[in-house]
């Protein structure tokens, strides 16, 4: 499935006792003009608050403006806060009065890009678009997954409003009603029961042995999903009727450099990571 081009979301923030917000305003405005969605926090934020907002708003990039020389200490704190929230994958970029002798130290800390005075907004736009491109993803099996970002992907199906039947993968019509007007895409449950399974001692070329597959009936109204099984440890951890949870796996990149994401199921109890 080809995902639609996503509108990048950027958090522009100023941290600590630094009221020089003209630069941040110019950048925020410029990014918005470039078609991005900008969340501006205003001045005097704490690193913890910025990290929290970034996660809640599922932003693609955090842009920090610093004019008073506190950049090393605030960046150290912000990156630590992002780590505690498991959000280290959100790149942080820095603009303002940043002496060149600090660049190396900032890069070691994990700052993704630095835009000193004189940098043009279009350079930032280019950088952010590149980041979003890196996070673009595509389903291994067309029509099976949905999600705003690489970190938040779920199984996708369809529901027919006429007969109530739920289908997986998503569909363009209801094969029961043979009607294409009442079918809607829905996000499916992440858990279900193992209906049946096999741990095969042989596998087609390219697949690991043992080769485990199963059918999972998703909690609620179904549907039934065929899936490879993973992280089950000893095969005796798999039992008909046991609770299973979906696990998204990254399977490399396609020709357009998008991350290929596939779904697998793992036992919720007794499995291994």
């Amino acid at each position: 499935m080809k995902e639609k081009a996503r509108i990048p979301r950027v958090l522009v923030a100023k941290i600590g006792l630094d009221g020089h917000n003209r630069g941040a305003h110019v950048v925020a405005h410029g990014l918005r003009e470039a078609g991005m969605e900008v969340i501006y926090t205003g001045i005097r934020q704490t690193p913890a608050a910025v990290a929290k907002t970034a996660v809640q708003e599922s932003v693609d990039v955090i842009g920090i403006s610093s004019m008073v020389g506190a950049h090393l200490s605030i960046m150290k704190k912000l990156i630590r806060e992002l780590e505690t929230l498991n959000a280290s994958d959100i790149p942080v970029i820095l603009g303002g009065i940043i002496p060149e002798e600090d660049y190396d130290q900032l890069r070691v800390l994990g700052v993704a890009a630095i835009f000193p005075p004189g940098a043009e907004v279009k350079e930032m736009v280019q950088f952010i678009e590149g980041v979003v491109k890196m996070n673009e993803w595509v389903s291994e099996v067309p029509g099976t997954l949905t999600g705003r970002s690489l970190e938040d992907i779920h199984l996708m199906g369809s529901r027919c409003d006429q007969c109530g039947q739920i289908y997986f993968p998503s569909r363009r019509n209801c094969p029961r009603c043979l009607d294409d007007r009442s079918i809607k895409p829905i996000t499916l449950n992440d858990e279900g029961d193992l209906e049946t399974f096999v741990v095969a001692s042989v596998a087609p070329p390219g697949y690991p042995v043992p080769h485990a597959q199963g059918y999972i009936i998703l909690s609620g109204e179904g549907p039934r999903i065929f899936s490879l099984l993973t992280d089950y440890g000893d095969p005796s951890n798999l039992k008909v009727g046991c609770k299973m949870g979906v696990k998204m796996v990254r399977l490399g990149r396609d020709k357009e450099n998008r991350v290929v994401v596939g779904y697998r199921f793992r036992p919720l109890k007794g499995g291994v990571d």
């Binding site: 291994e140 099996v141 095969a200 070329p205």
Partner: protein, 376 residues
């Protein structure tokens, strides 16, 4: 039909020639009277590169030409689908005599190539990417059935023992050896609970059936067998409590033939792995749900039992050259009805027989199921 087996030195044309000309000689029909031919084959495109005009190429040696030749591909049910179409041609009044032929060559120097070809009988977009494996699919169904009704591994093994017993008595069978429950369970695990001796082998072979009008049949050299009904069902997004494709399709076949499951006296079913017979007994109405384990324990489906199933040895022992399988199943029922089944002959010869032939896998269900009901 030809003998099934590893027939590396025989071509597709040769495998078609033998059964077609056997049918012509046995029935004493004039081959000029054949109005139309349907040729079942599933994998020649991938195995030999003959993707297009397979039927015309396959029939070349047999001399069947000029008439309409229709290529039929429906995975392991290709032969049955050819039968269904040949019947349709005659029943509709468009043809007086139709030929259904099926051939397959699955053996080559590279087993991986054969397995890859077989794996194309699933949805390549969905299951194909996850490494579909037919032994695995059947294993999942068998496991679900075991869990539901407490079927034992010994009962699974008995289906393989029975079909090998029958294969030992069938000169057309690929496997002529008998096996024991212990041997079956001790053979290599393929896809738990399915062991090697429960699975059908790769196979080469051919089979052919002639279907004609009542008038045509009158002048035949052999006692004709009537087609009570022939029904083709396809996968259908089966929900949790809906009947399976086999149950749905057989219901229609019984209705159209005007017979009930209780009247069936012999059946050939699609035992690509032998234990699927158990849930098929239930889905085809040979016993109540959950009773199939007892049925095999009581030896009811051996050739000398109450309702013999797979007297040919089934796919398990007779072999499974996909395109030929459905027509070979029909041949076995016809031979049983005519009293020509040799050492495995049912006594007295049966008058009502059923064929179940499945193929492929789509959306978690068998893609095609064909049911033929034959009446002596």
């Amino acid at each position: 039909m030809t003998r099934f087996g590893k027939l590396l030195d025989r071509t597709l044309q040769d495998l078609a020639y033998e059964p077609i000309w056997n049918a012509i000689h046995e029935s004493k029909i004039d081959p000029h009277d054949i109005d139309i031919a349907f040729v079942g084959n599933a994998y020649a495109g991938l195995m030999t590169g003959q993707e297009s005009v397979r039927g015309q190429v396959i029939l070349r040696e047999a001399g069947i030409s000029k008439i309409p030749i229709i290529n039929v591909e429906n995975a392991c049910a290709s032969g049955s689908t050819a039968f269904y179409l040949a019947h349709w041609a005659v029943a509709s009044g468009q043809a007086d005599l139709a030929l259904a032929a099926g051939v397959e060559k699955l053996f080559c120097d590279d087993t991986g190539k054969s397995l890859k070809a077989l794996a194309t009988s699933g949805d390549q977009e969905i299951e194909g990417r996850m490494g579909i494996l037919f032994a695995g699919i059947y294993a999942m169904r068998v496991r679900a059935h075991m869990e539901k009704y407490g079927i034992t591994r010994e009962q699974l093994a008995k289906t393989a023992v029975k079909n090998h017993d029958h294969g030992a008595l069938n000169p057309h069978a690929q496997y002529r050896n008998r096996v024991t429950v212990e041997e079956v369970l001790a053979s290599r695990m393929i896809a738990d609970p399915i062991t090697l001796q429960m699975t059908c082998p790769l196979g080469d072979g051919g089979a052919a059936v002639l279907i004609g009008t009542k008038e045509m049949a009158k002048n035949m050299g052999k006692r004709p067998v009537r087609v009570g009904s022939t029904v083709l069902g396809s996968f259908g997004f089966t929900g949790k409590n809906e009947p399976s494709i086999a149950a749905r399709t057989v219901k229609q076949a019984y209705q159209e033939a005007g017979v009930s499951a209780k009247e069936i006296q012999v059946a050939e079913v699609h035992d690509a792995v032998a234990p699927v017979e158990l849930y098929l007994y239930e889905e085809l109405g040979f016993c109540a749900p959950g009773e199939s384990g007892r049925m095999i324990d009581e030896r009811a489906t051996w050739f000398d039992g109450r309702l013999p199933v797979n007297t040919s040895g089934g796919l398990t022992a007779k072999g499974h050259p996909a395109g030929a399988t459905g027509l070979a199943q029909v041949a076995e029922i016809v031979w049983q009805m005519r009293g020509e089944a040799g050492e495995r002959q049912i006594k007295p010869a049966p008058n009502v027989g059923l064929v179940e032939n499945g193929g492929g896998n789509v959306a978690g269900e068998t893609a095609v199921v064909a049911i033929h009901i034959l009446l002596a």
